[in-house]
Symmetry: C2
Subunit: 425 residues, 2 copies
């Protein structure tokens, strides 16, 4: 939904138009102008809509080809690789799609989703497969849930369901987690610093770790004052068992007045999750305020500072923290901007197709292409990143390493694409 | 057992005397000479045997008193704080002892231990209580196990048993883990670098993490060539479920020819385990070769280099690695020597008695007293350590923070002591 549409909806509801956050803004023009001499294969850039490609390029370490598998996805947000080949993709607007092992999009969405509050950047978000998916066929989806009675009030929820191979319907759908509190009732509380509307910053990325715990990111809903409080799920990363129950080893279990699902806090809008293969640590990409985007190592019980400490600026141009080394708060591994990077998901490369990338960090971004960081011997990104595919002008939402060692990417667009990066002959 | 006794045993077995490792050597003289003017309260130093104390001192941050609770322990190795007050202590020679909430040693050992191979530094080692010990009264002990048929052949084992409060006998004793392979049959294989006898370097420290996984350290048995192989338990840290089964999330699960219990490898003789309260990470102290003692962050699947890479020297004075930043190997957080530090256990301070020590790393040592490192905002030790109680000339084997916030220490001595450090008025 674009800014105009949001304004129209708000006007229809008798509400004043709200400043849209950067996440809702139209895609900025590509940082670099279109190349003077486009390659013969295909035009490199056509506004925000992606051409069919493929595009060949020679990166610092590897010759690559970027191939479009489909351009028929509406605001794709997350994907999950299936053991039988192919993948499931979520569309933020509220659809779950199947792409088969040959890369063909099944025209019929998978039915059975709960009602989803799809508005602004609210909607259907992350997807994860149960660690024993091959046997139990359980999938997990994060989504924005409409309050049963109050219009415009919503929260982050995680549902679980069974999906059989090739089926067009989910069964056994149930919510296993509903974040609290519900939020969005008008009038909104007084909040500082030009924070945006209540229909932003849900988080919603899902990831299972090797021990079978499910991590769930939860954003601050543009109400950062809530984040340093322990009695709510705003701006937290949560850890759950596969049935949504609370692992007894969570850091706040038994702490009075604290939500036991929390694993870490002090986040603004964490949109990406990945396991660092060197360290086994959970890492997250986080959408900060202006110039405050971050990549963090997510430590048990860690506090990442929002909204007391950040490297960025608030949307009303107030400086927001901008300090490091504050006692009690963990500094980011990487911080970006200004200008904002607008990060999507992140991934550590561990495939066979590109041995020269082994262990490298890939960070999807809306403004700087797909960023690759070299990694040192202990899994830390080093040096300046290499920007891949930036000339395509895409808002890269998700990046994952496929079982074939290719990189799979989703673009945040009304005609969103699934793109695969393979080694060029 | 002292070096003379070892030599006599070997002579009786018709074997040539072997070079004893530094661990078996008598306690070195204290690094500092006895103070010229001993304090009035008690003599500070009486050879290796500890006087009754107490000893008052003013450390950098806090005024402390060191009190002896008992000096009647023979080579105490590990301890576990009981929820009802008091603690259990292992004696390396093969006894399990109870000290009540008033600090009195029960004269009657707790019976029911399996046969223990107590020889050199082999014997009874670490102890841990089940996370639900208050309900199920399960305790875990690491020990050197005699091969059922071949004299002198042994391995590291972990047993589990039930112990009721105040009882003098264990019930339900069972081994839940036996390391492989058994080792020690004569003649020993050819090994490089002057490595010691087979009755050394068992590891044997135990620790449960917040998720209820049991970590077990295992030494290289003075056969370092085995450590970089994945088909054995030499020089590994293991992770087990509470019944000894293998957690499916262990890094080598499903890897052909690899022991699935392994969590990390490349260790020489890891003798300490603690959870860093800032990061949630597992840390370990490791007895290296000469000048190669280490403190490590133990990462899932990490390789700590032994015996390819170490900061120390072999016992035949060959340099042993001595390099950092080797691809594929994780550098230590701290490395010591030469001379050797001879580390015991380590602990991060998280008690209420000494707020000025919150988060600080304490490392028990045989030669440098109890070392305290300041910690920075992300739980890393910084600066030069402060050596506490060094003038007492003790070989400090274990250090733990009690529920009262006092530090509890064990000395490695034939008349071993349990010492408590409290705040001095």
């Amino acid at each position: 939904m674009n800014r105009l549409a949001i304004t129209l909806v708000l006007a229809a509801a008798g509400l004043p138009p709200l400043a849209a956050s950067a996440q809702d803004a139209p895609a900025p023009p590509a940082a670099a102008p279109p190349p003077a001499a486009p390659p013969a294969a295909a035009p490199m850039f056509q506004g925000t809509a992606l051409a069919q490609g493929p595009w060949d390029s020679t990166t610092t370490l590897a010759p690559i080809r970027a191939e479009v598998l489909t351009r028929q996805l509406e605001r794709p947000w997350g994907m999950a690789m299936l053991p039988e080949g192919g993948l499931l993709v979520t569309e933020r607007v509220g659809r779950l799609r199947l792409i088969d092992a040959d890369g063909h999009l099944d025209p019929e969405p998978i039915a059975g989703l709960p009602e989803i509050y799809a508005f602004g950047i609210a909607g259907l978000n992350g997807i994860a497969l149960h660690p024993d998916f091959a046997e139990n066929r359980l999938i997990y989806l994060a989504y924005s849930k409409q309050h049963p009675e109050i219009a415009g009030v919503s929260t982050l929820a995680v549902m679980r369901a069974r999906w059989e191979a090739g089926s067009h319907a989910l069964t056994g759908v149930e919510d296993i987690f509903i974040a609290g509190p519900w939020y969005g009732e008008m009038p909104l509380p007084d909040r500082c610093c030009g924070q945006g509307p209540a229909f932003g910053s849900y988080g919603g990325r899902l990831l299972f770790d090797a021990d079978g715990y499910l991590f769930v990111t939860s954003g601050d809903r543009n109400w950062g004052e809530m984040v340093q409080r322990t009695d709510n799920h705003f701006g937290k990363v949560m850890r759950l068992n596969d049935d949504g129950s609370v692992p007894p080893g969570n850091p706040w279990v038994g702490r009075e007045g604290a939500v036991p699902e929390a694993w870490s806090t002090g986040h603004r809008n964490p949109l990406g999750l990945a396991i660092n293969p060197f360290t086994g640590e959970l890492w997250s990409s986080e959408f900060g305020p202006r110039g405050g985007d971050e990549v963090n190592r997510i430590l048990r019980g860690g506090n990442y500072g929002w909204m007391q400490v950040t490297q960025g600026q608030h949307y009303n141009d107030e400086p927001a923290g901008g300090v490091r080394g504050v006692d009690g708060f963990i500094d980011p591994v990487l911080a970006f901007g200004p200008p904002s990077l607008n990060p999507g998901n992140l991934a550590f490369y561990d495939g066979a197709m590109f041995p020269e990338w082994m262990g490298d960090l890939f960070l999807a971004s809306f403004t700087q292409g797909l960023m690759r960081y070299d990694s040192d011997a202990v899994g830390q990104p080093v040096g300046e990143p290499e920007a891949l595919l930036r000339d395509l002008g895409q808002r890269w939402r998700d990046v994952q390493v496929g079982p074939d060692g290719a990189l799979y990417l989703l673009t945040d667009d009304a005609q969103g694409a699934l793109v695969r990066i393979v080694r060029r002959d």
